[in-house]
Each structure stands twice: as structure tokens, then as C-alpha cells.
Symmetry: D2
Subunit: 278 residues, 4 copies
Amino acid sequence: MSQYRVLIDANDEKGLVHKVSNIFYNYDLNILSNSEFVDRESNKFFMRSVIEGDIDKSELVNALVEVLPAHSGIKVVTPKKKNIVLMVTKEIHALGDILVRHEAGELEANIVAVISNYDNLESFVSKFDIPYITISHKDLERQEHENKIIETLQGLGDIDFIVLAKYMRILTPRFVETFENKIMNIHHSFLPAFVGANPYKQAYDRGVKIIGATAHFVNNNLDEGPIIAQEIIHVNHAYSWKDMQRSGRDVEKIVLSRALKLALEDRIFSYANRTVIF
Amino acid sequence: MSQYRVLIDANDEKGLVHKVSNIFYNYDLNILSNSEFVDRESNKFFMRSVIEGDIDKSELVNALVEVLPAHSGIKVVTPKKKNIVLMVTKEIHALGDILVRHEAGELEANIVAVISNYDNLESFVSKFDIPYITISHKDLERQEHENKIIETLQGLGDIDFIVLAKYMRILTPRFVETFENKIMNIHHSFLPAFVGANPYKQAYDRGVKIIGATAHFVNNNLDEGPIIAQEIIHVNHAYSWKDMQRSGRDVEKIVLSRALKLALEDRIFSYANRTVIF
Amino acid sequence: MSQYRVLIDANDEKGLVHKVSNIFYNYDLNILSNSEFVDRESNKFFMRSVIEGDIDKSELVNALVEVLPAHSGIKVVTPKKKNIVLMVTKEIHALGDILVRHEAGELEANIVAVISNYDNLESFVSKFDIPYITISHKDLERQEHENKIIETLQGLGDIDFIVLAKYMRILTPRFVETFENKIMNIHHSFLPAFVGANPYKQAYDRGVKIIGATAHFVNNNLDEGPIIAQEIIHVNHAYSWKDMQRSGRDVEKIVLSRALKLALEDRIFSYANRTVIF
Amino acid sequence: MSQYRVLIDANDEKGLVHKVSNIFYNYDLNILSNSEFVDRESNKFFMRSVIEGDIDKSELVNALVEVLPAHSGIKVVTPKKKNIVLMVTKEIHALGDILVRHEAGELEANIVAVISNYDNLESFVSKFDIPYITISHKDLERQEHENKIIETLQGLGDIDFIVLAKYMRILTPRFVETFENKIMNIHHSFLPAFVGANPYKQAYDRGVKIIGATAHFVNNNLDEGPIIAQEIIHVNHAYSWKDMQRSGRDVEKIVLSRALKLALEDRIFSYANRTVIF
């Protein structure tokens, strides 16, 4: 028996659940879990089913293609470890959280490599027997530096997700297009507030009573793209902006790990500038 | 066109979604929203669909009965205001929150009456043109007092829910059986901690850093039954137990109103000692 | 014996706690609670003490003036009900929450009046025996309309706070200057995100996973000024912007009532664009 | 110039702040931060000041002893790294979080050793160059096993805190007495609910909608003692007890690390069965 995750997004029309569940029934597949959502505003239908049974993947895909509207998104995924690359600059907390979870067997992922523009986390990462690749931006123009990263990434084989675990350099549109829908970022703020540099200083200056973090896909520039998860903590007048930053790190790492887990389990649909999460 | 909420709970078996969605399809019904859950431990299937189309309610029920396993729970509900009675003792906050929401048209409910064992909230409730019925427990034995309440309730016509909005008297099993699955309570604690009298004093004595509230159905005694909603707030050493109580009231009223809204929208399945909430 | 709240803000220098506590000691005053904070960045010292003893208020003020740096803020407040005016447009939830708390005796406040640019909440407010003053903006220029409100407010005697409980008209700088440091607003967003009109629609369009509310003093325009309290709730893809708005109301009313309580108990120092809250 | 943390707990009486601040003033010490609290119920006074200036520690202690009531608790602490030992059984998450924070230089602590009754985390801990000591309980009676741990701990020099980072064996009163006020535990539940074995299973069976974790000092048995920090997350019907456990781990590690940080910074007073935290 095989287990599959079936992911469907389609223009909504009457009978979609009927048609899909019909296929599952006719092929004698067991539904382990099933979620649906219709976005009335955009008239989009989303469905995620976990099924098991005796069927070939391509046969199932073909059956679905036949009954679903043209141009539907149809994915049938076998649960297995995805290949991810982590990109960092100098901070250890988000990276460390992912490495410990990986060590604990909590993540459906192979960490193929950690890439950084500095070498200061190398000794830490090497403890975990994961390749650490330093690609310094020193003396390089932005595009030159990025080209080196892109080449490196392309040399690492099939990558499912690139996780920016506090990678503090701005990515160019070329980078984003090259790895479309594969880049996940943690923004140290509850977007859309405090876009840009040093959001904790901005938050402090504004005298806020909550600070937060946002995990999102990157589709245009570093601070935009569909939001996956957000969380906040309360602060008060006694917090300097450095205190906010310190406390914010706890939120950042939790939010990024939560978003990564959702992505690895194929629970996220991303469309327009939003996500549907099952 | 009619709109219905279809509520199904059944022993799980292969093809249930297929069978139900088949009926919707064949009767040309439009699915507005659809949620399913299978509890693997108890092998129970739950489904809530909101549909619209041209069909008679009894015809739809019959069609469902035909395809679903014997002894399935099948309800087809027309969205409309439910009849509720609020029971209180002396505190105004949870009651007041529901009355203001009712005034704002936020609740799918007719408030048939407020019943209390004291008259001190009468002038407040009468502002809202809602009958206030005082049934004093003074000089009465528990069962006598309760019998008077039961009679009063039975004289109020069809009641969908009895909401204990800080009703501080213990109910006997007879009361609970008479209004089975219809009684909702707000417990001023995050159950199962601090069952019993003055939970805020208990919480204070234990030196806790969070306090909470729990909305639940009453199926045995006042502090048990399936939990619908829970929420907490953080407290610190500067809180006396009276401060905790004061802060706790904010949580209590929010949690009770949230639970009531879920019940009025037919979103709660209750089984064993738990709830499934769509 | 009298009880006072002593509120001091001063440029920080060595010995301030010593000097103030010396006065309390020499006058044989009992300290019931005491909070201090030094903002290192601006070198400002803040202190709030609740004391009791046999002393005349002016004598205590004079003694403090003598030992504290020139230009210090020194307030000695007798705990008593403050006079507040609520301003609303059409929504009932924040207003209703304050009125019920007032009815419950929870607020250290007299609600002098409710002012609105519409009359639709009049029958609700009149239930609570509180004057409702409609000042329609119809056929009036902004400044004309506002002048009428200012005159009305000035005719209501000494007002400690004007609470904008979802008053949806923009106030001019003249209004803000007239009632400097007395205007409190609830913004239906976690500022500084989604400033301006319909923040729930903006939040929906951005695909956020949390929504929030911010209570703040108004010192320039409606969406700025020192933040007093903020809170959030989690939302998901199934929320339309109207669902967000509905859920947001619960946060709005809780945050506004929390901020109002802090103000009534003289717990807020406001300076630059921030608050210190004891 | 030296910096000290001054920690005072005393029976409350008039003039304590005056007397202490007098000493600071007379010795020309600068107060960097200052917090006080009086527990009216137990008539206890607590104060934590961070000061700097030219004074010998013992001189300052003597000056304080002279003015404070007999039997007061007086501590003058030089900020420096404290020695801690971590005890674990088999789970990596709480341990890993502390080790990564330690690596990041976030903790005012030397991790002297990790002690476990199993060897399965040895290779993980050794990555961080921290001694891992396995003391198996196999074939040993409880007291024998514990004696070996006590001896080992006593051989490790001065230990400030023993952190039970998911150590799953019950400690005897002898152990607790030997290291009085030095043992910190993370309980995988929001105490006092679900004391005892497998709280996640208990929570699941009760159908709760929130789960939590509690960090506390151990003064009697593993599940009691003054609470330092608590946090919760929301769960729903779709969570199996194993899902609850997985999600609970995120709360556990955050709460334990937060409590540890407070202890390392000398911010916790513990008395009766409660904590005052500045």
C-alpha cells in the first residue's frame, strides 16, 4: 500500500468534492484526512487529502486530470524527506533551532548545506556534520555575489526549499525568479509593520507594546510574499531595542520552524499574495 | 433556494465523503463550505457542510439516512435564531457581554429570559427588554429550588441552549438529564485545574503565572463535560486573588461568548468527553 | 488618614529615590506600592508611589518640589472618580463594554456623556441613564462640526479623558491641542501597520495571520500618539475581511477598556512618543 | 567601579526604601534599576537594585544588615557566569535549546556538565564540548542510583543551579534537601493540572483546547514548588496526544529557557510556594 498527499487547487465549480471523492472511492483508496476550502472572493477551490491504497501515482494523477477543470493545480506527493538549504548571515538562533529539530528527527528534511556570507557559524554547523559553504560578499558587486550563490545552489542537486534563517542580504529579482516558490524567509517583525532595516529599533522608537515575527515566501523582494505564520510577544517600557531584539529571537525561531514544518508536510497553498494552510 | 447546515457523525468507513457528496451532486446542491474530521482513536467520522439548493429538508435527510451507516447522527438545520435562556447569580460581566452582543445583532439567538436566584441584576436586564425571572433559593431545599427552575424553563417553550453565565449554584443530575446536551457553562478556571469553589483563591495560593477560563457543556456535574473553548491571561506576583478575579472576568466573558457563537452556528459536535469544532 | 498617588517624572540624577523616600519617611507616610523606571536613552526618571498618612496635599507637593530637579513633573492625586466623555460613531461593542463595566462599578469614572455624529446608539445609551448628545456632521464643514463638539465638551465641566470608542471621524490639530493629553483612541489594527481606512480590508488583502488593536493617546492625528496597550488574535485563510472585523471587535473592546483602566488609575506616563506604565 | 545586584527580602515595616536608598546615596552609588514589591498578605518586602560605584561588597552588606530588620535576606551579587548542571533523560528539545543559547553567548552560565540516566544524547552533547555523564539506573535501587548522582554533582564543584531539562525520574526528598532552592524543573503541563505521568495523554483524554508548560523550583516533589514561568498554546480536536506532545515541546523549551534566564540574572525571589520576579 502506498500513501499519497493529494493537493488540488482549481477554479471552483459545483461537484469538485464529488468528483475527487468518486475517484478515491472507485480506486478503493482510504482517506486518512481531508481538508477543503473555497475562497469565494477569487472563486478558487483548494483541497488536500492524505490517502492510502494500491495505485500508481501517475494513474491517480491522470484520473484527477480527467475530471478537474483545465489549468487546475494537481500534485500527488509521496511523503518523504525534502531537500533544503539554509542560508544565514551571523545569527545562530533560527539556524540552531532547525538543526536541533533535524537532529531530533522532527523534520521531514535533509539539510543539504548551510550557505553564509560569513564564516563565523562554520564551527557550529560542522558539529552537526552538515556542509557549511561560505560565499563572502567582500569585494564583490551584488550581482556577482549572488551569481556565485545561485551557481552553488544549482550545484547542490534538487532543492525543495531555500530557508533564509536570518540571511540579512537583499535578494535580487533574478534570484527570486530562479527559485520561484521555493524561498522561505523569517522577517523579524510582524509584517507589514516595520519593513526594512532594524525593525526592532523602529518598533522601539514607535513605543510599541507587542513585537512579532513573520515567516513568508519570497516572491518579489525580501519583505513581501505570502505570509505563512506570525506570532508576537508582549513587551513594555523597560525593554530597550536590544532587549526587544533578544526577545524577538525566540519568536523568530519558533515561527520559522513552524512554517518550515508546514511546508515540509505539503500543507501550504500559496496564491495571489496569500496562503491557505491545512 | 434554501440554505442548510448538514451535520453528520457516524462510525467511520470507506466512502463516506463520496456517498454524501454524491447526494449533494445529484440533487444539484451547491456546497458553500465543508469540513470533515475522522477521530482515528474512536473510529468516528464527523462532517459539517453548508449547502444551498432546491430541496426539501426531509427529502435530504432521507437520502442521507439511506447511504450512511445505521445509528449515524444526521441533522439538517435551517439557519435561524435559536432560543436561549441565560442563568446568572450576581455577576454582571458575562451576562452583560452577551446582552450587548445580542443588542448589536451579533448573535443568532433570541434571549427568551434571564433566570437568577437573586434579583440584583433585574434592573440591568430590564433595560434590554428581556424578561428577568427571580427564583430565590431562600428557605428552599436544593431539589425544591431546582424543580421550580425546571418548571419555569419548561414553561418557556422550546429552548435550544441554557447558558450558565456565572450561575453559581450546583445543578443536580436531574437538571442535567432534563436538558441533556443543552447546558453550557463558563468555569472560571482553565479546567481541569482548580475545580470547585473560588478557583482564583486556589490559583493565587498555588502562585500560578497564568489564569484562564473554560466554556464547556455540562453533562454530569458543574465542572465537567466536553470543553468548547479555553483562554488564559498572564498574571504576576503583584496580583492579589481579587486582582486575578477581576482580570479573569475579561477572559470568562470572551470565552463564553465565543463558545455560545459556535453553538448557535451549529459548529460543535460533542461526543465522549470531547468536542469537534468546525 | 489620606491616600495619595504620587507621580513624578524628572531628568534623572543620582539620589532621586533617596530624596523622595526621605520625604515619605519624614512625614511618617506609609508606602503602599512603589514603582520606578529610568529611561537611559532619554535620561528620564519616572516614579509612581501610592502612600497613606496624615498630610495635606499641597504640603506634600511643596516638599517634593523643593528636592526634585527644576521642571520636574510632580502630581499628587487623590484617588477618586474621573470625569470621562465617550465619543462614538455607529458601533456598539467598545461603547457597550465600557458601559457594562461602569454599571458593574469596575471603573473609577463618571461617564458624563456620550457624544456621537449619529443618533443610532441613543436608545442603547439611554438605557444606562447617561446623556447622549448627537452632533450630526451633515451639511457641516469639518471645522464647523468640530467646533460644535468642542463647545459641547467645554460645556460639560471638567473632563479628565475623552475616549474615542470607535469614533470614525478624523480630528483636526485644533481639537487635539484643545484637549491635549486627554484623548484616548482605539485603533482597529496593531499600529503602525494598516494606518488609515478599513484596516481589516488592508489586513485581509495582505494575507496576515494575526490581527490586532491598539489603544493610544492622540497627539497629532488619529492614528499616532503614544501607545498604551496592544493585543492580537490569530486568524487564518478562512476569514473574510468581515470575519476579521467581527473577531477584531473583541480585541478592540478589551484593549480599550484595559487602557482606560490604566489611565483612570493614574498608571500611565506619556512622553515623547511612548508610555511608561506602572 | 563595581556593579552589584542587591537582593533584599524582609518583614515589611515603614521606611525600608528610605533606609536602603539612604545607604546607596551616602556611599555615592548609582542606581541602574530598582524594583520593589510588598506582599500585603504575608507582610513581606522584596527589593532588587542594580547599582554601581566604588564600594567593597562586604562593606555594603554590613551597612544593609545594620538598617534592615533582623532575619532579613540580604544578598549582594556580582554579575558573573553561574555554574549549572543539566539533567536529562532522552529528549533533546529543552537541552538543545539551552545548548544553542549557551553557544550564542546568551546565558550568564557555565554548563559544567550534562547528567543523564541514558547515554543516547551523549554524541549530541559532545558536539558542544560539554562533559556528558551517564549514570544508568539499571539494576540499581532508586536510592542507590540517586546517591551516585548526588556524589557526582558534589564532585563537580560549586553548582548554582541544577536544571531538570526533561529529567523523567522522580527525585527523593533527600536529593531535594541536598540541593535546596537550586533545582529547577520543566513540567510538561500547566500546573496544577495533569500532575503525574504522561500529562499530554491526560490532557487529550480530557479534551482540552489549550496545553501548557510550567517551569518551577523543586522543593518537595517533582511536580510542586514555586512556579517561575508558564506558557500555553491552543490545540484542537485534530490533535492526537502525540501531536499535543510535539507541540508542547516548543512551549516547554521556551518556558524553561525563560525561567533559567531569570534565575541566572538573580531576578527571582522564592518564598512560601510562590515567586516574586523582577
